[in-house]
């Protein structure tokens, strides 16, 4: 196992609130020490001066597409993309074919991860059988098999009663439910945000109020049940308000948002660019601003990618027929640094915190820290590195991204998983 010293980088460890120039010593797959002038005779020395050394990034919202949708992505291609983007722990969603709703499926994915994954993969199980929103899946069994959270992501659970049952049943296990928040009847045929843009394109809209009432319902139910809820990919300003108020009241709610919802609006939706089709949809500038405010004041805990790759031929269709989502693992950090950090909108330690320690806390994971003795899951970031997003260089199978062609500043240059180099200078080992 590699022995390595990351020398002279700016070490940012949100868990301990450490932010300063230091060395990091890695031994036996663990973090052996963080401090000044560290030495080890037989260690590889990596010059991290001018770079940022942080816990490996944690992504709570990834679609690795296994089992059944390997044309879109699989555990190998998806985790290669993850380490290329600086991620060392990702949680994969259960909306696969079949849906991950039994312990047997959770175990089979754990095995797949062991065999081919380049980083840690956490399994999110379905809340209801087949994600149908009717009967509870075997949640307890899945927890014993290793599931870290539950979600019917992709769907809004139509029955408040079913969700309340899930909250109550999971209470004893202290696991969180991740909710996709869009009231179905308001978004059934919608392909983009409902606004002036959709009105003039003639495309069916998905209104913000669909998200707002869903968040309100699910947060109120969690409050009533004393349960934990995690609001997936928030996109609406009003939804941020609802979560903020709930947190003030002490509701056990956490929330996430994506770089795309922070930086893009429905103005970039065109009649043919299906990479802009995502759920919930790209909203308005006011919504972007509200998400940023939510990140700053702690309403939003985590930045996630909602990495949703699709096969080329699936996205290469008429806008209304193309599936929603695009891959984000390889662009997320670059977008956050370019559009939020270098513009002065959000400071680097906050961004790191929202991509490591805080998301880990949302799911109760032990990663996202540089504490002595923790697994050596580390990312080294060159915040000044300029690069252009090129889908041909993606490790993910998904090639359609609205960020393709963007010139970015800031990139992961070294990813270490359990003490081993998983990516160096953009090349996955």
């Amino acid at each position: 196992m590699t022995k390595m010293i990351l020398k002279g980088g700016r070490v940012i460890d949100p868990a301990s609130k450490f932010d300063g120039v230091a060395d990091v010593l890695i031994e036996d797959g663990k973090i052996a020490a963080v401090g000044q002038g560290l030495k080890a005779a037989d260690a590889e020395v990596y010059d991290a001066s001018g770079k940022v050394v942080a816990p490996g990034l944690v992504d709570l919202h990834v679609h690795l597409r296994e089992p059944g949708q390997e044309a879109k992505e699989d555990f190998e291609s998806g985790t290669k993309a993850a380490v290329a983007g600086g991620f060392t722990t990702i949680a994969t969603m259960p909306n696969t074919k079949p849906v991950v709703d039994t312990a047997a499926l959770v175990r089979s994915l754990e095995k797949r991860a062991e065999d081919v994954a380049r980083c840690h993969v956490k399994i999110i199980g379905a809340v209801t059988k087949g994600q149908q929103g009717k009967e509870l899946a075997e949640l307890g069994d899945m927890i014993e098999a290793g599931a870290v959270a539950f979600s019917d992501d992709g769907h809004f659970d139509p029955s408040a009663k079913v969700l309340l049952n899930a909250y109550d049943y999971l209470h004893a296990f202290d696991k969180v439910i991740v909710n996709h928040e869009e009231e179905t009847s308001l978004v059934e045929e919608g392909v983009m945000n409902e606004g002036h843009r959709s009105a003039m394109l003639g495309m069916k809209g998905r209104p913000t109020v669909a998200e707002d009432i869903a968040v309100a319902r699910d947060v109120l139910l969690a409050e009533y049940a004393g349960a934990r809820v995690h609001v997936a990919h928030m996109s609406s300003a009003r939804a941020v308000d609802i979560v903020r108020e709930a947190k003030k009241r002490g509701v056990r709610v956490t929330a996430e948002c994506t770089p795309q919802h922070l930086t893009l609006t429905d103005e970039c939706v065109t009649l043919t660019d299906t990479s802009t089709k995502i759920n919930p949809p790209l909203r308005s500038q006011a919504d972007c601003d509200a998400l940023l405010a939510g990140l700053k004041d702690g309403t939003i805990d985590a930045i996630v990618t909602d990495h949703s790759p699709h096969a080329e031929e699936e996205k290469d269709q008429e806008y209304m027929y193309a599936p929603s989502g695009f891959p984000g693992l390889e662009t997320s950090l670059g977008i956050m640094l370019t559009d939020l950090c270098h513009t002065g909108k959000l400071d680097l330690p906050t961004i790191i915190s929202k991509m490591t320690y805080e998301p880990a806390k949302c799911f109760g994971l032990s990663c996202g820290t540089l504490a002595k003795g923790a697994a050596a899951d580390i990312v080294v970031i060159d915040p000044e590195k300029e690069w252009t997003v090129d889908a041909k260089k993606f490790y993910t199978r998904g090639t359609h991204s609205p960020f393709v062609g963007r010139k970015l500043k800031g990139k992961a240059v070294l990813t270490i998983v359990d003490g081993d180099v998983a990516m160096r200078d953009g090349i996955v080992e």
């Binding site: 409902e194 606004g195 002036h196 959709s198 009105a199 003039m200 394109l201 003639g202 495309m203 069916k204 809209g205 209104p207 065109t270 009649l271 043919t272 031929e313 290469d316 269709q317 008429e318 806008y319 209304m320 027929y321």
Partner: protein, 315 residues
């Protein structure tokens, strides 16, 4: 007649948002000449001899497809019609592959109708023949927008300064969106009215149009009224209580028509739901140009073919 300096040769006709006022004027002038051809005993000119055109219709249509077909034939082009029910489309062929197949046969233009917004623009990015959008979802129907302008110009002698009321099912109407862009570019005062359930929610944010919820407010002193078809086939229900109530409260009746100017011109893109959005007495009355629009449609489409495939008189 003023001399046109613009050329539309090779232009894809996707939506009127892509047209300059000069281009619209060029189409309307060219259509006037084309209308003379339709009135001839022998309706055949050699303008497009040796050109081949495919109409590719993924949605049912009588007047638009026939109109595009006849327009091409009057100009001497060879035309083949492909409809979704009788082609490889039913075998699940993707739009890209269907377009490649059509292109490989060497056609010069593809006239396309599709239920998905943006399908025509997609086609223009995938293959090289000129694309003429004959309707893409609720997005655009540019030739219908142009023939409306042509009909108004013929009757009123001008477009700028006229007040037009567009009534009814704007939500599902590709015609309405092409009207809004085309009419505003030509300096018309555009008023929209219908039950709020049939109006796109944020339409009022579009500059230069006025949105009303009662049709009386839009009709008042109008020079032109376009009544849109209620597209029941695209509704899942619940957008208004009954067609009976719609007719009573939102239908264009002779009584409501009195609010408009005496010489108001009535348009409807067809097919009409007579007795719902428009009363028969209005549809067939003295102010109606609804049948004329059909003939003007052929002339406008002849003009579009000529301009995009030959460049018009400059060629």
């Amino acid at each position: 007649m003023e001399k046109n300096t613009v050329s539309m040769r090779g232009k894809n006709i996707l939506g009127l948002e892509d047209f300059s006022p000069e281009e619209i004027r060029l189409v309307l002038e060219t259509a006037k000449e084309m209308k003379n051809i339709i009135h001839r005993d022998i309706k055949k000119v050699p303008t497009l001899r040796g050109k081949s055109i495919v109409t590719l219709f993924y949605e049912p249509s009588t007047r638009t497809r026939t109109s595009f077909e006849l327009a091409a034939k009057y100009l001497g082009a060879d035309v083949v019609n492909i409809t979704s029910g009788t082609s490889s489309i039913v075998k699940g062929e993707s739009l890209r592959d269907t377009l490649y197949t059509v292109e490989a046969m060497g056609v010069d233009a593809i006239v396309m109708r599709h239920k998905a917004e943006g399908a025509a623009e997609y086609a223009s990015k995938v293959v090289s023949p000129v694309i003429l959008n004959a309707g893409d979802g609720a997005h655009a129907h540019p030739s219908q927008g142009l023939l409306n302008l042509f009909t108004i110009q013929e009757h009123k002698g001008r477009l700028a300064g006229l007040k037009v009321a567009i009534l009814g099912d704007v939500l599902h109407s590709r015609v309405a969106r092409s009207d809004i862009y085309g009419m505003r570019k030509m300096g018309m005062e555009v008023h929209i009215a219908g039950p709020r359930t049939l109006l796109p929610r944020f339409l009022y944010e579009e500059p230069g149009i006025v949105v009303h919820e009662r049709i009386e407010d839009a009709i008042k002193d109008a020079d032109v009224i376009e009544v849109l078809r209620i597209q029941l086939e695209r509704m899942k229900g619940g957008l208004f209580p009954t067609t009976r109530e719609y007719a009573r409260i939102f239908g264009l009746s002779p009584r409501r028509l009195q609010l408009a100017k005496d010489d108001v011109l009535i348009l409807h893109p067809g097919p009409m739901n007579k007795g719902w959005e428009i009363g028969p007495a209005v549809a067939y009355g003295d102010n109606s140009a609804i049948q004329e629009e059909v003939q003007n449609g052929v002339a406008v489409r002849m003009a579009l073919y000529t301009l995009v495939l030959t460049g018009g008189k400059q060629a």
